[in-house]
Amino acid sequence: MSIMEYNGGAVVAMKGKDCVAIACDRRFGTQQTTVAMDNTRIFKIHNKLYIGLGGLMTDVQTVGQILQFRHNLYRLREKRNMSPAAFTKVVSNLLYSKRFGPYFVDPIIVGLDKNDEPFVSSMDLIGATEISDNFACVGTTEDELYGICENLWNDKMEDKDLFETISQSLLSATDRDCLAGWGSVVYLIKKNSVEISELKARQD
């Protein structure tokens, strides 16, 4: 079994008109056994920047915490928050520095830049970056998520529509993956607020 599938899990992010959303499932398992149903793979960097990571859970936690630590130092030195584009480069750099002994994570970065423009980017475990116009999916449920996101996403979604679309996509996709599920957490990031919702799904 691949190391990226050991703990299971799914993260998806979508761009809206003036907002972004990121969501993850809540399962944490060791191969077939479920160990926790209240796990989260999404880390807050600052009010308008979040990172979600698919892959091996220990590396998810390590990389998430390292990035929060690095941003805290950045904020002390620069007296401002990091932009999503710059943060993407930081993450990519961190991962490539471990090119021949990588962190087993697939990050997705979402945020609003200094003009409150939506931003979504994703990368593989060694830092190859893609800045998306629409959505990004990682995790064991990647294929299912690509299928349904491709169908449901459109470029005219306000916050309510975006929330509905990302929730239905993640819930429907993780239903078909035995390594991901047990509900989900959705972060809807708008100019002046962040809404965090916990969704109940099939508890298997």
Binding site: D143, E144, Y146, G147, E150, N151, S172, D175, R176
Partner: protein
């Protein structure tokens, strides 16, 4: 170091089917690929077995071709011996047995049989490579199957739709639109699916066939 010779090959593609109250729709793309190359953009994965039953198979084209030929001749023999077409239930059982007959050198085909039964109700049966089958409301197969299935769960089975009336059935036109949208979505993200798709709509009145163009990249 030689890897040996394998008698099987994956020719890619996707097939999707769904059953309604009095109709069934089955679709499969027409791309034939080996690895990263396309052999042809016009290879159909679907055969109409009777007026009421249509079969789509993903997997290996050679085995699909043989399987479909074998079944077509069995249909013809049945017609000549019994003076009528095989019933849909009998077709589904026969396919299962034909596949299991080759249990130890399987037909590398993943089959979906769709159509209407003798009462006029839509049905979909999906099979594994050795003939285990089950009646379902919708089925997918092939490399692009995993991309399509959450869409069908959401719209056909209305999963996660708390506020919707789950007893309301999908109409034939809504179902056709769903299939076309789903195919387009799969084609965007899955490399072995594309070019065009055969879409068969089976009703009591007969079977219509459409070749729906898809992205060719």
């Amino acid at each position: 170091m030689s890897r040996g010779w394998m008698p099987y090959q994956n020719n890619g593609g996707t097939s999707i089917a769904l059953a309604g109250k009095d109709y069934a729709i089955i679709a499969a793309d027409r791309r034939l690929s080996v690895g990263y190359s396309i052999q042809t953009r016009e290879s159909s994965k679907i055969t109409k077995l009777t007026d009421k039953a249509v079969l789509a198979s993903c997997g290996m084209q050679a085995d699909r071709h043989t399987l479909h030929s074998v079944l077509t001749s069995r249909m013809q023999m049945y017609q000549l011996e019994h003076g009528k077409e095989m019933s849909t239930h009998a077709v589904s059982e026969m396919l299962s047995r034909t596949l299991y007959y080759r249990r130890f050198f399987v037909y590398y085909t993943f089959n979906i049989l769709a159509g209407i039964d003798n009462k006029g109700e839509g049905f979909v049966y999906s099979y594994d490579a050795v003939g285990s089958f089950e009646a379902q409301k919708h089925a997918v197969n092939g490399d692009g199957g995993v991309l399509a299935v959450p869409m069908l769960d959401n719209f056909v089975m209305k999963k996660h739709r708390q506020l919707e009336d789950k007893t309301k059935e999908m109409t034939k036109d809504e179902a056709l639109r769903l299939i076309k949208n789903t195919l387009n979505a799969v084609v965007e993200r899955e490399i072995t699916t594309g070019d065009a798709a055969d879409i068969y709509v089976i009703t009591k009145e007969g079977t219509t066939h459409e070749i729906f163009q898809l992205r060719k990249d």
